[in-house]
């Protein structure tokens, strides 16, 4: 088992342009081994907040702590061993002439022994289905494949914490669910996963906790269930829960005993009741 660190962002302030702060006192705690979804409109500060957790950005006000220690004096390269960031745009992190070399770049930079680097690269190629394109240049691949390469390249670093910034944008559902199942597996091994997404179906299926951002502040937090039920919060952040949640709510209002945020859960829940009625 991996023991992930506890991350804490306290009253963070940050501005790309002085007159328009992107973070206005954001607070966030990521418990070890948590699968957390960060949601909110474009421009609400999700990526900006997440980039503070591994020192890619440094706050103008407030603090970030890793296992209780302030990270302001710790180099970003050092933090990257603890917290891996998968960028929204894969082209911001792909530099190598081949997919295989791209996967080895990080582990080599961290000074791992050659045999270990090689083993991780091979495992990454296998795991993400990249074997057949190992020698291709990342630039010659489709957007979807570049995205998977960029994720595999961070995964070979095996950081205890993964930040996934809209990892499924541009992927079809087959690739997206394959990818997310992979992170669910890493989560089960003790890794923390912070998922930035607009896809509420992913939130319902994978996240154990949701943090809602709006205009640079945290405006809500709770289990997916709690957040999806919070009408004013959803409206304020302009979020729409999955259709299945809408359906389950309607059925509950009509007096049925049914629950579930995903198709599988609602299906099981209904069948329990349905069979009772007919049994």
């Amino acid at each position: 088992m991996i023991l992930a660190p506890r991350l804490e962002a306290i009253d963070l302030w940050f501005a790309y342009e002085a007159e328009r702060p992107a973070l206005r006192g954001a607070d966030l705690v990521v418990e070890p081994g948590e699968f957390l979804a960060l949601v909110g409109q474009n421009g609400s500060g999700k990526s900006t907040l997440a980039k503070h957790l591994n020192g890619l950005l440094r706050p103008v006000g407030g603090r970030v702590r890793l296992n209780g220690e302030d990270i302001s004096g710790v180099a970003t390269g050092q933090l990257a061993r603890q917290v891996g960031y998968v960028f929204q745009n894969p082209d911001h992190q792909l530099f190598s002439p081949s997919v295989e070399q791209e996967l080895g770049l990080g582990p080599r930079y961290f000074g791992l022994p050659a045999a270990e680097v090689e083993e991780r690269v091979q495992r990454g190629l296998e795991r993400f289905g990249l074997r057949s394109i190992a020698q291709r240049g990342p630039g010659t691949l489709s957007f979807g494949l570049r995205r998977i390469v960029s994720i595999a390249a961070v995964a070979t670093l095996q950081p205890p914490v993964f930040i996934l910034d809209e990892p499924t944008t541009g992927l079809d559902w087959g690739s997206a669910s394959h990818l997310m199942d992979h992170f669910a597996e890493l989560h089960a091994q003790g890794h923390s996963v912070i998922l930035i997404t607009h896809d509420m179906r992913l939130v319902a299926r994978y996240a154990s906790r949701v943090v809602v951002l709006s205009e640079g502040r945290v405006v809500g937090r709770g289990s997916p269930q709690e957040v999806f039920r919070h009408r004013e919060l959803l409206q304020a952040a302009r979020l729409q829960p999955p259709r299945i949640v809408e359906l389950v709510e309607r059925l509950v209002i009509s007096g049925m005993e049914i629950e579930g945020l995903t198709v599988e859960a609602a299906c099981r829940s209904f069948l329990t009741r349905y069979r009772l009625k007919h049994g």
């Binding site: 474009n42 489709s142 559902w173 087959g174 179906r201 259709r243 359906l247 059925l251 069948l271």
Partner: protein, 285 residues
Amino acid sequence: MTSLVEVRDLWYAYPALPGVGAQWVLRGVSLQLRAGEVVGLLGASGAGKSTLALALNGSVPQSTGGQVRGEVLIEGLDSKRRPVAELAMRVGIVFQDPEVQFLQTTVEAEVAFGPENLGLPVSEIEQRVTWALGAVGLGEFRSRAPAHLSGGEKQRVAIAAILAMRPRILVLDEPTASLDPRGKLEVLEVIRALRPDHTILLITQESEAVAELADRVLVLDHGQIVMEGDPNRVFGEVERLARLGLRPPEIRELAHCLNRELGVPAFDFSDVEQAVEALGQAAVA
């Protein structure tokens, strides 16, 4: 109904890369778009959706080169022989990322750009800009800078810029893929509003949107159309869609899950309303 777009047995391969042989990206695609139809085109990454879109204004193969077989007729015109500029007045294509299309510093200039290049009289340009911005609900945004708009607003500007060319056929290639939920809703509203006067090919991975908007659905897989028909029927084939890497609408998945577990086709609902009714009846039966 007449076909505005007629694609007949279209095969296409991009120019071969060194060391990699030419591969057919489209393999015998035939389709018709009839006047006033909204057709949803679904397909996993790499299925050939965008290539097919570009074939509809002649960019494929005129700008891309490569090998082509078969025919694409746009309002009867052969897309291999007519200049792309001429075809673009009939078929407007909107892409996933609007920013790459922006060249101007104001919304108004962006939308006027196409008509100006047609050499239209100033009054005609002005009228088109006003109409196109009105059609996407951005009448108040004329003097704003495209760079400072939200994702949904940018995509609506991109649609307005295409509308100003007055095409009868609109091809929207993943227009909502990179937008947040609010932006998606805005763009889907615009598509709904454009529907009466345009023939629309909506390329997307978002089956919920297609289920609500499209008259007909096509599914492309490895360059071939493998499913075609009424959205109700196509989205009913939950397992097949999943095998093709596509996400069926959730309400459909629920009906499928229930039927599978019960071992009988007990449920056939396709939206929340129908599901509430059917499940309510079953539960009190």
